[in-house]
C-alpha cells in the first residue's frame, strides 16, 4: 500500500497548461459559427430561388465563397469539439471511446475537405468561365 495521498503524488509536476484550450476553442467557434450562419440563412432567404444556376452564381462571388469557406471550417471545427465532449462524457469503455474519436476526426475532416473543395471548384470555375 502506498502511503501517499493523490495530491502528494501529483504535487510539483505542474499542469499541462492547456486544460481550458478545448473549452475556449469551442466557445470561439460557437460565436464564429453563429455569425456565419446568420449570413448564410439571410443570404439563402434573399436568393430568388435555390436552383443550380442561382446557387452557383451566388457561390461564384469571392465574398460569398470566402464566407462559405469560413463557415465550413468554423462549423466542422465546432462539430469536432462538441461531439468529442459528448463521446468523452458518455462512452466509458476505453476502446470504444478511442474508436469513436477516430471516426469523429475522420468524418469531420473528410466532410469539411469535400465541402471546401466543392466551394473552390465552383468559385474558380466561375472565374475561368
Amino acid at each position: 500500500m502506498r502511503m501517499e495521498t493523490p495530491l502528494g503524488r501529483v504535487r510539483g509536476l505542474g499542469s499541462a497548461k492547456s486544460g481550458t484550450h478545448g473549452w475556449w476553442l469551442e466557445r470561439l467557434t460557437s460565436v464564429s459559427t453563429f455569425l456565419l450562419f446568420i449570413w448564410f440563412l439571410v443570404s439563402l432567404l434573399r436568393l430568388p430561388g435555390l436552383d443550380h444556376k442561382t446557387v452557383v452564381d451566388w457561390l461564384g462571388s469571392p465574398v460569398n465563397a470566402v464566407a462559405m469557406l469560413l463557415l465550413i471550417v468554423s462549423t466542422f471545427w465546432h462539430i469536432k469539439l462538441g461531439m468529442q465532449v459528448v463521446i468523452e462524457d458518455y462512452v466509458h469503455q476505453e476502446g470504444n471511446k478511442i474508436f469513436l474519436l477516430l471516426i469523429l476526426n475522420f468524418f469531420t475532416i473528410a466532410a469539411a475537405a469535400l465541402a471546401i473543395f466543392s466551394v473552390l471548384k465552383i468559385a474558380f470555375g466561375k472565374g475561368a468561365a
Binding site: T75, H92, K121
Partner: protein, 130 residues
C-alpha cells in the same frame, strides 16, 4: 471507469423533479448531435452536388423536395434555433451570470419558446414567398 462498485452512487436522474433547465441542457446535446450528423451530411451533399453540375444538383433537389426531407428540414431548422438559443444562454452562464433559480428557469423556458417561434416564423416566410 475507475469506480468502486461497492460504494453508493448519489441518486441523480430518477430522483429530481424535471425542470426546463434539465430539458434544455440535454436538448442542447441532442440537437447538437443531430445537426452534426444529419445537418452536416445535407450541407456537404448540397455543396458537392452544386459543384458536380446541374444533373447531380437536380438529384439533390428532387430528394430535398420529398415530404420526408421536408420533415427533416423543419426539424433541422428547429434544432438549429434551439441549439443556438441555448448556446447563447450557455455563453451568458459562462461569464457567471443567470444562475439564480428563477432567472435560470426563465431563460431555459425562453429558449424553448424562442426556437418554436423562430421555426414557425421561418417556415411561414418560406412557404409564403414560394
Amino acid at each position: 471507469m475507475h469506480r468502486n462498485p461497492s460504494r453508493p452512487l448519489s441518486p441523480h436522474l430518477s430522483i429530481w423533479r424535471w425542470g426546463p433547465h434539465m430539458l434544455v441542457s440535454i436538448l442542447h446535446r441532442v440537437t447538437g448531435g443531430g445537426l452534426s450528423v444529419v445537418g452536416a451530411v445535407l450541407l456537404v451533399w448540397w455543396l458537392a452536388a452544386a459543384a458536380s453540375g446541374p444533373k447531380a444538383y437536380a438529384t439533390f433537389a428532387d430528394y430535398a423536395d420529398e415530404w420526408y426531407l421536408m420533415v427533416i428540414w423543419i426539424g433541422l431548422s428547429w434544432a438549429l434555433f434551439q441549439h443556438t438559443l441555448s448556446g447563447l444562454r450557455h455563453l451568458v452562464m459562462d461569464v457567471g451570470a443567470g444562475f439564480e433559480l428563477t432567472t435560470n428557469k426563465f431563460w431555459a423556458m425562453m429558449t424553448l419558446v424562442g426556437s418554436a417561434a423562430l421555426t414557425v416564423i421561418l417556415w411561414l416566410y418560406i412557404l409564403g414567398t414560394k
